[in-house]
Amino acid sequence: MSLRIVVTVKYVPDATGDRHFADDLTLDRDDVDGLLSELDEYAVEQALQIAEDADGAEVTVLTVGPEDAKDALRKALSMGADKAVHVEDDDLHGTDIIGTSLVLAKAIEKAGYDLVISGMASTDGTAGVVPALLAERLGVPQVTLLSEVSVDGSTVKGRRDGDAATEQLEASLPAVVSVTDQSGEARYPSFKGIMAAKKKPVQSWDLSDLEIDAEEVGLAGAWTAVESAAERPARTAGTIVKDEGEGGKQLAEFLASQKFI
């Protein structure tokens, strides 16, 4: 039996560029370059490692996003994933967390899976809840926020470093996993990988393929509404001094003037 792994990957605006809101208070995608969310590279990496260790495995990368989101899929394919699914539909514009999890869950079911691997959070919305929602919707165990993950037969094991404790977790497949950036450096695509990716299949599905009504998603179907978005005022320029030997003492004076000491 071959292990079917689906990796969810998000196409996000480059965090090092200027990110903006458009007039409808959704993400402005025109003004800024997009890419595969860096935190999802860790998910792709773990999927590839699990696949390498398994006896026959297939890694499918899945994104829900606009046309350009194909770039994120290509990157994941060039890292070594086998095939890709792109869910693309004009009616998806402005979908919220709940809607996104619905679309992803339906697409994962349609693709067929034993293991879903997600990033710990996207680098734009940064909610970090989609993996838990996928587990809820698919009705399978969630094994999330793992800094270490392995699959042993039909069991997935991992380490979750929480606020209060480190936990060793275990669940039976099928399951949803999310991995942190502590899970291991993601590989760079090789030239061979980049060339091979061009020939790998990318399937496109729209809402009707997933039997989802347009009213359930998009800006109109969102269960949350952004009412305003204001750019944070630039911080007023602070005092910057060069240390001439008394820097520590000067800093102490500043802290005292602000009543911190």
């Binding site: 009412e227 944070r232 911080r235 240390d243």
Partner: protein, 320 residues
């Protein structure tokens, strides 16, 4: 007045500060009903009552400790069914967000995560979020179902407001999937005696410039002179100089203290994402061009090995 469910974050009965902040926010939109689960749940009641809980629903069962997240979702859902609240507030910890999201989908509600403020509005509570590494401030509403909102630490003052705090046992039926993810071992984090990173009024952080695990003693000494928590950049964590649980930034903790002191940290966007909302920012960096200086209220261009120990001594001298 409408009731508002507040999920309680506690360790063996000791309520953590973010929950007390949630009670302050909850009172703006209704009467707080607290839900405390697991070992020591009943012991939380007096503290919760002092801070405005009209009722405390408690439940303890082995499932809460032995299996991940889902048993707690089942319990919160039971409380939801019992109270029919006007809103549900949950602390924005990693686990809190997962619990809140699963509840939202179960009860057919939208969710806002990582709110930094909350006010009553005509169409239900309005949540403020700080997004894109704190470059934007947004205000959002939940338009479908009962608002489920997770709130970041340090988002509201802790204000005592004594209320009845009647304790009631919550009856929980676990769903079939509750035992899906087994916790086979748990190693509690050792206490350093320093304040909790996300709750501290002052955070002192070190980065790659600290140049070695042993040199973090300099950062710790400064922190101790101020009663502060210690943070680290990912570069310092990846180098193995400080534990990941102390990482500040996008993939670490997000902090918003009164004072943040960064030493030997350049100020990459992912680091800024976790500290940019600090009230006062101070940096020590030997590179005058480091991007962290764009954020600071006070910056010293200099060698941290000179500046930081001198600062620590000066603070100690002032405090006598």
């Amino acid at each position: 007045m409408a009731e508002v469910l507040v999920y309680v974050d506690h360790v063996d009965g000791a309520v953590r500060k973010p929950t007390l902040e949630l009670l302050t926010l909850a009172r703006r939109i209704g009467d707080p009903v607290a839900v405390a689960l697991g070992n020591g749940a009943a012991d939380t009641a007096s503290t919760l009552a002092e801070h405005g809980a009209v009722k405390v629903l408690t439940a303890d069962a082995a499932e809460f400790a032995d299996y991940l997240v889902v048993p707690k979702v089942d319990a919160l859902q039971a409380a939801f069914g019992q109270v029919s609240p006007a809103a549900v507030l949950v602390p924005s910890s990693a686990e809190g967000k997962e619990i809140a999201a699963r509840l939202a989908v179960r009860v057919g509600s939208g969710i806002v995560t990582d709110a930094i403020d909350l006010e009553a509005g005509d169409g239900g509570p309005v949540a403020t979020q700080s997004v894109f590494a704190a470059a934007y401030t947004t205000k959002s509403r939940i338009t479908r179902g009962t608002p489920v909102i997770t709130v970041k630490p340090n988002s509201a003052p802790v204000e005592p407001a004594p209320a009845a705090g009647t304790v009631e046992e919550l009856a929980v039926t676990f769903c079939e999937g509750a035992t899906g993810t087994k916790v086979v071992a748990r190693t509690p984090r050792e206490s350093t005696g320093r304040p909790e990173l996300t709750e501290a009024a002052i955070v002192v952080s070190g980065g790659r410039g600290v140049n070695g695990a042993e040199n973090f003693a300099i950062i710790e000494a400064l922190a101790d002179s101020l009663g502060a928590a210690v943070g680290a950049s990912r570069a310092a964590v990846d180098a193995g100089w400080y534990p990941h649980s102390n990482q500040v930034g996008q993939t670490g903790k997000s902090v918003s203290p009164q004072l943040y002191i960064a030493s030997g940290i350049s100020g990459a966007i992912q680091h800024r994402a976790g500290m940019q909302t600090s009230k006062t920012i101070v940096a020590v960096n030997k590179d005058a061009e480091a991007p962290i200086f764009d954020l600071v209220d006070y910056g010293i261009v200099g060698d941290l090995f000179q500046v930081v120990p001198q600062l620590t001594e000066a603070i100690k001298a002032r405090k006598g």
